[in-house]
């Protein structure tokens, strides 16, 4: 059973940063993507339209090279779209990227942390970048590290950490400023079962606390068990979207698992194109 300090915090009075966010646009949509296009040597994302509701756990699935990562990197502000719009809680992310980044967190498959910093130093750094009040940041840092099973390593340098430990430090960094939108690109790849469970629990906890999660994954069981809605992307376009039941129905796989549904919808999408 996962202990839930984060859930307890969600019940406490709002933090300063959260209160500031709450006074902004209270759009029911966390993320609205319209006509988003990105071309490298070929079209990676092709006039994509996508909407994720606030407080939703949204899984974005698709085969390799479908455009999932490119889409999320554009949302996170890591890539500039060729055309289209991205709105995060009503903030135009292309017109005002700084405001959009304040409420967003990004975590990729390959955790990018500093080997020569300790987890606490890393979290102090990330909190500083997002201008989280120091006392609040310190308390959250200890809380997150404890919750992710990293308290014993809080003051040892990250060099020599395993992939799972690094991913947990990166996840703590992504959560320390209490983002309203958490974007994750294959965050569970390469993690052992215990680490994967801790990461999944942390994400579920955040969604329960009101945050929105958009995640790509190749582990269909995770999407099946955790996602409120699932989007399937292929060739840079959204070919199917909905709850698991809705997708099963669309694929004619009533009672089937997500893997069968996913493959059927992909085949359908290929036939249609």
């Amino acid at each position: 059973m996962v202990c839930s300090p984060l859930r307890r915090r969600a019940e406490r009075p709002e933090s300063l940063s959260t209160m500031r966010f709450m006074t902004q646009n209270s759009s029911p949509s966390a993320l609205v993507i319209h006509d988003l296009t990105k071309r490298f040597d070929r079209v990676a994302v092709d006039a994509l339209d996508l909407e994720v509701r606030a407080g939703e756990f949204y899984a974005l699935l698709g085969p390799n090279g479908a455009g999932k990562t490119t889409t999320l990197r554009m949302v996170a502000g890591l890539l500039t779209p060729d055309s289209g719009t991205i709105s995060i809680f009503g903030i135009d992310a292309r017109a005002d990227p700084i405001a959009a980044k304040r409420v967003t967190a990004w975590l990729s498959e390959e955790p990018m942390i500093y080997d020569k910093l300790t987890p606490l130093e890393y979290l102090a750094f990330v909190a500083g970048l997002w201008e989280v009040a120091p006392q609040l940041a310190e308390a959250r840092a200890h809380e997150l590290l404890g919750w992710l099973g990293m308290a014993a390593h809080a003051q040892t340098r990250c060099e020599g950490f395993s992939k799972g430990m690094r991913q947990k430090v990166a996840l703590a960094g992504a959560l320390i400023h209490e983002p309203r939108l958490i974007i994750l690109d294959e965050p569970l790849t390469g993690l052992d079962a215990a680490s994967a469970r801790q990461v999944k629990a942390a994400l579920a906890e955040r969604v329960q606390a009101g945050a929105t999660v958009v995640m790509t994954t190749h582990i269909l069981e995770v999407a099946e068990r955790m996602a409120d809605r699932i989007g399937i992307i292929a060739g840079g376009r959204l070919i199917a979207e909905g709850t698991l039941d809705a997708l099963r129905e669309q694929a004619g796989q009533i009672g089937g698992n997500l893997e069968d549904t996913f493959l059927a919808l992909l085949a359908e999408g290929r036939d249609a194109s």
């Binding site: 910093l117 990330v126 909190a127 970048l129 201008e131 040892t156 430990m165």
Partner: protein, 515 residues
């Protein structure tokens, strides 16, 4: 066909890998660069032969009956070269010890790990000998052309020196490892290498300052007092010098001694080397037990947070520490010279003129390395790019972090200088800022995102940037030297350096990746 698992087979594999590594290092994986590299090497060799002709040509006939003065100068020069070889050997041995690469494969295979490491150790004097030989060859060739083929024996001396250097480097590194353990040996070994590489030059300069009040190593080595105090002509101390001068018995002793020391080192250390390499890798994959307390949750602007992060990372970078230590060690003799000049009440103008270009050169070189680490060597570019801070502000904070370090390192020298020679100190401060700013700008023009651990290979991202950084440091150092002297000649290197930078800027990639 060589039988797999034998020493010859390992040697073949290692040499193939080393060759491809070298090729990648000089061409950065671009085949079309091979031709320009070959052309560049040929030009370098021709220019070096020209320089050698002027420098050592007149001494080609001196080998026949060397006097004490010649033996002292040759011994001094040989020791100087050998100390640099020993420093290189320390670095090579340490790199070999901490390179993970294929260790898992070797240790999990039925092949002999001891044999494999023996072959790897055997490759070390080859690489060090080749590197030294490349720089020594023009001088040896010129001496052989003008003085006779007996000078070619110097090539064998280079081999003997390389063997001895690796044997001693192995001994030192193994002692460090046994004493300090896997976690601290890398840094300690790099510091020892830096000190060894600089120590002999610095000692010669310090001796010259204390004895003769100038910085000239040559003047010290040629001084009558030193020659008078040196041992007699038949002393064993002159064996390396006599070997370099082509005397066959001395040559045999140097090469034989090197071979013997190296053979013993392989015999004693090959197995231990494999054990220590395994421990070094295990250390890389287990969390440190060292507790750090630099986590400061305090109210600060994102820019300040970024600067602090850069400073913490720079302070914890072992390669940078050894490089910076080397730079600082080279500043020691001019600093001593300055102090002596004040103490003796002598005019400090000469000291100032000498110190200013050294400071400017150090600023340029240090700033280049620091700027690469801060700007290109960002290990979490996605984190920085997704943070709510403008890219221009990120860049400014990183530049401020670099220039802050330069200020802290060089300001004490400038302040001391300002007491006695305010004009020279002003010129020094101005050109320290220009040199540091230029090196940082070059890194910005040619930045290419890379892991921080690629610091040693940063030059592969752009040869132009590497040359521009070196040329601008030298150019601004020359300009500051003339300017501190109050000479209008300063305009010549100054304008030339500015012109070089304009050309380099025009060659830089039009679009750079934003951090």
């Amino acid at each position: 066909m060589t039988r797999p698992g034998t020493a010859l087979w390992f040697a073949g594999t290692e040499s193939r890998l080393a060759w491809r590594d070298l090729l990648w290092l000089v061409t950065a994986g671009e085949r079309w660069r091979v031709r320009s590299v070959v052309f560049g090497v040929l030009i370098f060799v021709a220019v070096m032969h020209g320089i050698a002709w002027g420098l050592v040509g007149p001494f080609a006939g001196a080998a026949g009956h060397p006097d004490k003065q010649l033996l002292v100068v040759v011994t001094g020069t040989a020791l100087l070269s050998w100390s640099v070889m020993l420093a290189q050997a320390m670095e090579t041995v340490t790199r070999g010890l901490y390179a993970r690469a294929d260790l898992d494969l070797i240790l999990s295979s039925p092949a002999s790990a001891r044999l494999c490491f023996a072959v790897r150790i055997a490759a070390m004097p080859v690489s060090i000998g080749l590197m030294t030989g490349l720089f020594a060859a023009p001088f040896i060739d010129v001496l052989a052309i003008r003085g006779g083929v007996h000078w070619l024996g110097a090539y064998a001396v280079v081999v003997g020196f390389a063997l001895l250097a690796v044997a001693i480097a192995l001994l030192l590194t193994m002692v460090l490892f046994a004493t300090l353990g896997p976690r601290h040996t890398r840094l300690a070994s790099q510091i020892v290498a830096a000190v060894i590489g600089a120590a002999f030059v610095i000692l010669l300069q310090v001796a010259a300052i204390l004895s003769y009040g100038n910085l000239s190593r040559t003047a010290f080595l040629e001084s009558p007092a030193l020659i008078a105090a040196a041992p007699g002509l038949h002393s064993a101390i002159w064996i390396p010098a006599r070997a370099l001068l082509g005397e066959a018995p001395a040559l045999a002793i140097v090469v034989g001694g090197g071979l013997l020391a190296f053979g013993l080192a392989i015999l004693v250390f090959a197995r231990r080397f494999a054990e220590y390499a395994t421990m070094a890798v295990a250390q890389n994959t287990t969390p440190s037990t060292r507790r750090q307390r630099a986590d400061r949750f305090e109210a600060a602007t994102p820019a300040r947070v970024l600067r602090r992060k850069e400073w913490v990372l720079l302070a914890r970078d072992p390669w940078l520490l050894s490089q910076s230590l080397m730079q600082l060690l080279y500043l020691a003799p001019p600093a001593l010279f300055l102090w002596r000049s004040f103490g003796s009440g002598a005019s400090s103008a000469g000291a100032a003129v000498l110190l200013v270009p050294v400071l400017v050169m150090a600023a340029g070189q240090l700033a280049g390395g620091l700027a690469w680490l801060a700007v290109s060597g960002e290990d979490a570019p996605d984190l920085i790019a997704t943070a709510p801070i403008l890219p221009s502000r990120v860049l400014r904070a990183k530049i401020e972090a670099v220039l802050g370090v330069i200020l802290v390192v060089l300001a004490p020298f400038l302040v001391v200088l300002a007491w006695s020679a305010p004009f020279a100190a002003g010129i020094g401060a101005l050109f320290v800022a220009i040199a540091a700013g230029t090196s940082t700008a070059v890194q910005l023009w040619f930045r290419a995102q890379a892991r921080r651990s690629y610091f040693r290979r940063r030059q592969t991202s752009s040869r132009i940037a590497t040359f521009a950084e070196a040329l601008s440091s030298v150019g601004w150092a020359a300009t500051s030297g003339f300017a501190a002297h109050g000479s209008w000649i300063a305009l010549v290197p100054g304008l030339a350096t500015a012109l070089i930078l304009v050309i380099v800027r025009s060659l830089s990639p039009a679009k750079t990746t934003r951090t």
